[in-house]
């Protein structure tokens, strides 16, 4: 729809042809909007945990829609059904569409079988954000964690997803790691599928 000049009228949003997703807006426009999202949510909560939960909820709604959109547009209405498949879908396809690049790394947790980590040196949403001292470990990446959870949940891989700052040697800013802990049923299913 965007970019084709005259806007056409469609009775139903689903009748509208999907655009290719190449349209862009300035990073500032997004940063301003995201900052308002965070500031608004700050007025609605009493503590950091709640704030992260609310940002995650907002992200979840984005993730659920991204999954639907990408499966329909890029994958011919198919979606990944295996654990590694869906992880690589998040790490590559989703990241590329949303953030313009593949995520820096995707690793398996060393201590727990059910944990995976997606790390990003400079997460797009954290680019212009500095956390005040009194807000401790708060990470706006909770929004992205929510997106990841939304995608995974929609694809049938329920998981607990959280965002953490991880200090890096020789770097001034810590990187953000999105920690994915899959539900038991997911691992049981994977084991059964062999």
């Amino acid at each position: 729809m965007i970019g084709v000049g005259k806007m056409k009228q469609y009775g139903n949003v689903l009748d509208k042809p999907l655009n290719k997703g190449k349209q862009e807006v300035s990073l500032s426009a997004f940063a301003f909007l995201f900052s308002e999202l965070v500031q608004y949510n700050q007025t609605q909560v009493d503590n950091i945990g709640e704030l992260e939960r609310r940002l995650e909820d907002a992200g979840y709604a984005v993730g659920a829609r991204v999954l639907e959109l990408l499966c329909h547009r890029d994958k011919g209405n198919r979606r990944e059904t295996r654990l590694l498949g869906i992880l690589s879908f998040v790490h590559s396809t989703v990241w590329k569409v949303l953030f313009g690049k593949v995520a820096d790394s995707l690793e398996k947790g060393t201590e727990h079988e059910d944990e995976y980590m997606i790390s990003e040196k400079e997460l797009l949403v954290n680019k212009f954000i500095s956390i005040p001292k009194d807000m401790g470990t708060f990470n706006c990446g909770a929004f992205v964690a929510g997106i990841v959870r939304g995608v995974l949940d929609g694809a049938g891989f329920p998981a607990v997803v959280t965002a953490h700052f991880v200090p890096m040697e020789g770097q001034q800013r810590p990187r953000t790691t999105i920690l994915i802990k899959f539900a038991e049923e997911v691992l049981r299913r994977e084991a059964r599928l062999g």
Partner: protein, 186 residues
């Protein structure tokens, strides 16, 4: 200091960092949905979106001035033209047009055909009173507030409500004289 020529919206947009419009669209959708859940009343959501826009506008004007090299506009006509041609382009990647001037040049319409905020959006029956893009009117009001112009910005047409384009009416209420609350020697 040498005067630098103002840059076109296209030139600026080509040179700034950009993100996928879908991330922006869906995030804005998440904001609106969150407000609808929290505030329940559509009227309140309109107000909050306008407030958020205002907050953005008062900060965005700095970036706008810094990147566009636009100098003082001679009149309100020039101001709205710059908003439509440079402002919308450099932030949202779309251009708008200005029409419907009144006789004394203080009220006009900014018309948007493309609007990245509303992709995938349809207003459900219980949200018919919602001005989905109300954040935009807030942005314009906030930005102009910072350059001494008090304005009133209202939606006249909205594609989500069945119109063919988005039309924002911008009305100049008054020029606020610049005041320096501090003394020179401080």
């Amino acid at each position: 200091m040498a005067r630098v020529a103002p840059r076109t919206g296209d030139a600026i947009f080509a040179n700034v960092e950009r993100v996928n419009a879908e991330l922006f669209t869906l995030t804005y959708g998440a904001v609106v949905r969150q407000l609808l859940t929290d505030l329940e009343e559509v009227e309140e959501v309109n107000k909050q979106l306008d407030q958020m826009g205002y907050n953005i506008g008062i900060r965005l004007i700095d970036e706008f001035l810094a990147k566009s090299n636009v100098s003082r506009c001679n009149d309100f006509r020039e101001t709205t033209d710059v908003i439509a041609k440079v402002g919308f382009k450099m932030f949202l990647g779309v251009t708008a047009s200005v029409t419907n001037w009144d006789a004394d040049g203080t009220c006009c319409s900014i018309v948007l055909e493309d609007n990245p905020l509303v992709d995938f959006v349809e207003l459900p029956d219980n949200c018919q009173g919602l001005y989905y893009c109300n954040i935009l009117s807030g942005v314009i009001r906030g930005a102009l507030d910072m350059v001494s112009m008090k304005t009133e910005v209202t939606w006249l047409r909205d594609v989500l409500r069945g119109d063919d384009v988005f039309e924002l009416q911008v009305k100049l209420l008054k020029h606020v004289p610049e005041e320096y609350p501090y003394k020179d020697d401080e």
